[in-house]
């Protein structure tokens, strides 16, 4: 299946070079990769109900950087690999939450989050608009079956293909297709019959 967001050859080459530099231990390359991928990874974790998004995102990248020496593949494969790591961290987080429900935090509580004392959040208007949309999105995500939500968010936010998502969630491409269909269907019904705010 073709990528939804085809990248130019130059971009691909540049990314491949960045990954190689990261493998060689170049901190600038690590920073670059973190900057490129952390927003999507954090968004995925956030929408999938992670408790401490920032922490889990950092854990994800620590895992990636610690093992990057053993990675070989294209930039697209690197991207999916990062999400594989993120997905595993998320599953660990879910297991922990299941065992310690008392520690559970409302997913709505951390997204834009309590920031440390005195922190300036920046463009207030922009943040407000973003969080309003985020609240609606989170409400829908919470009502989707977990595996459907995983698949849809990975496809949309992770910008991954069906095959890549299959790799991340450990299912066959056919199963992923089925899950995304069901997820979309569920969303359609929620949006049309229940008027879930978006």
């Amino acid at each position: 299946m073709a990528r939804r967001c085809p990248v130019s050859r130059e971009d691909d080459d540049a990314r491949a070079a960045t990954v190689e530099r990261a493998k060689a231990g170049d901190p600038a390359a690590w920073t670059e990769l973190h900057r490129d991928l952390a927003p999507a990874v954090a968004g995925y974790l956030r929408l999938r109900g992670a408790r401490d998004v920032d922490d889990l995102t950092s854990e994800t990248f620590l895992g990636v950087f610690r093992n990057i020496g053993g990675f070989s593949g294209s930039p697209a494969q690197f991207r999916s690999w990062v999400f594989v790591v993120a997905h595993r961290r998320l599953q660990d987080d879910r297991r922990h939450r299941f065992r310690h429900p008392e520690e559970a935090v409302s997913p709505a509580a951390d997204p834009d989050g309590p920031m440390p004392d005195g922190v300036v959040a920046g463009d207030v208007e922009h943040d407000a608009l973003r969080s309003m949309g985020a609240a609606g999105v989170r409400a829908l995500c919470e009502r989707l079956a977990p595996d459907q939500g995983d698949v849809l968010i990975l496809r949309i936010l992770g910008d991954l293909t069906v095959d890549q998502v299959a790799e991340v969630v450990g299912k066959s491409p056919g199963a992923v297709k089925q899950l995304q269909r069901r997820g979309l269907d569920a969303l359609r019904r929620m949006a049309t019959t229940e008027g879930v705010p978006l």
Binding site: T31, R66, G118, G122, H126, R181, A186, R188, T192, L198
Partner: protein, 384 residues
């Protein structure tokens, strides 16, 4: 718990309405009308959920800053993680080479304009990185200490600072007068900072008339002296203190002053000699901060996803007389301007940074009377 879509019978019918193309179009952000408009809005909302890059944890920040991974776990190589005791002798050459290469890479990676603009600042940053790793020989550490202070605004009384011009040559290489006389070959370079060594008293003043800036250049020069590099634009440095602060390493280095004073330096004249008494890093700070209880704060900054935003976070000060933090920013000069103050805040998003500008950030811990208690590493960042 029942979720939408869990109803198998219903789904088997619904599934037929989705072709692969329709799914791809929707997930790609197509904006259909009718009952699919809600899904399109959802897709758009999901995409928007990828806000700015989250603030990295302290551990990750150190990773991003040093780029040096160890086999010992998550911790990057710092004085504390790599060294077990003050007297430990570490074979210098290999480690030296690795680090100096990295340091040179940092500095050389910057455009000429950036070098000129940041002048001493950049040089200091590069050197501090090594200092943090605890591998610089005492003499160099001394110089590092000086430079660190030099770029630490509040503690910058230095009157001689008249000639801020050091970066006329712009290139750190030239900036360092003393280091040039490096006796040994490349491998020896690092310790080369014979300038300070030879003249303990002058210490950071390999260039007498030189101001802080010059001092900085001097300190960093040796590493830069190597081959040219083309690399990163973002230079982050862990404070010389990082290790110490992080793990009470300070306690391990009882005789800080010794390293700084001339005598000690003399012991490490040649590169070959295994230097690295990590006492250095901690020490350095001691001498130069007004604080009687110097302590390190680790600062990390990264450009946020949005243009013009820089996210900074730092470790808490453990000094008893800490009253508040002040985040200083400089766009090249030796003196920073306070962009944020807080008693207990450990993070700040600077929304006033201009794109395509290189900034230096440093956090300082102030006492109630406004004097500097301790400070962090200098982080130079190319915004955004």
């Amino acid at each position: 718990m029942t979720f939408f879509g869990d109803d198998g019978t219903e789904m088997s019918i619904q599934d037929d309405s989705w072709s692969d193309d329709a799914v791809e179009a929707l997930l790609s952000g197509a904006s259909p009308d009718g009952d699919l408009a809600g899904i399109a809005a959802f897709v758009a909302g999901v995409r928007a959920a990828a806000g700015p890059a989250p603030v990295p944890s302290a551990t990750l920040a150190r990773f991003l800053a040093t780029g040096i991974s160890t086999d010992k776990g998550d911790l990057p190589a710092t004085a504390a993680s790599k060294v077990h005791g003050p007297a430990r002798q570490v074979s210098g050459p290999p480690k030296w080479r690795r680090l100096t290469m990295k340091i040179k890479g940092y500095v050389a990676g910057l455009g000429v304009a950036a070098k000129v603009a940041l002048g001493a600042g950049i040089a200091a940053a590069a050197t501090t990185g090594a200092g943090a790793a605890g591998v610089l020989p005492p003499p160099v550490q001394h110089a590092v200490a000086a430079t660190v202070d030099a770029v630490t605004p509040f503690s910058l009384p230095d009157p001689a600072a008249g000639s801020q011009a050091p970066p006329p040559g712009a290139k750190e290489h030239e900036a360092a007068p003393a280091p040039a006389p490096t006796p040994a070959g490349p491998g020896a370079e690092p310790p080369a900072p014979t300038g300070p060594t030879g003249t303990p008293a002058t210490g950071d003043g390999p260039a007498p008339g030189a101001t802080n800036g010059a001092g900085l250049g001097g300190a960093s020069a040796p590493p830069a002296g190597h081959e040219p590099h083309t690399e990163p634009t973002v230079t982050t440095t862990t404070a010389p203190v990082t290790g110490g602060g992080g793990s009470g390493a300070a306690g391990e280095y009882p005789t800080p002053t010794t390293t700084i004073t001339g005598p000690a330096t003399g012991e490490h004249p040649s590169p070959s000699t295994t230097t690295t008494t990590t006492a250095a890093p901690t020490t350095t700070t001691t001498t130069h901060t007004e604080s009687s209880n110097p302590e390190s704060i680790t600062l990390s900054c990264s450009p946020a996803h949005d243009p013009g935003r820089v996210s900074c976070s730092w470790t808490a000060s453990t000094n008893a007389d800490h009253a508040r933090y002040a985040l200083l920013r400089t766009d090249g000069g030796p003196n920073g301007r306070v962009v944020f103050q807080s008693e207990a805040g450990l993070a700040f998003v600077d929304t006033t940074a201009l794109p395509a500008t290189t900034y230096g950030y440093r956090i300082v811990s102030l006492r109630a009377d406004g004097s500097v208690d301790s400070h962090s590493n200098l982080v130079t960042i190319n915004c955004c």
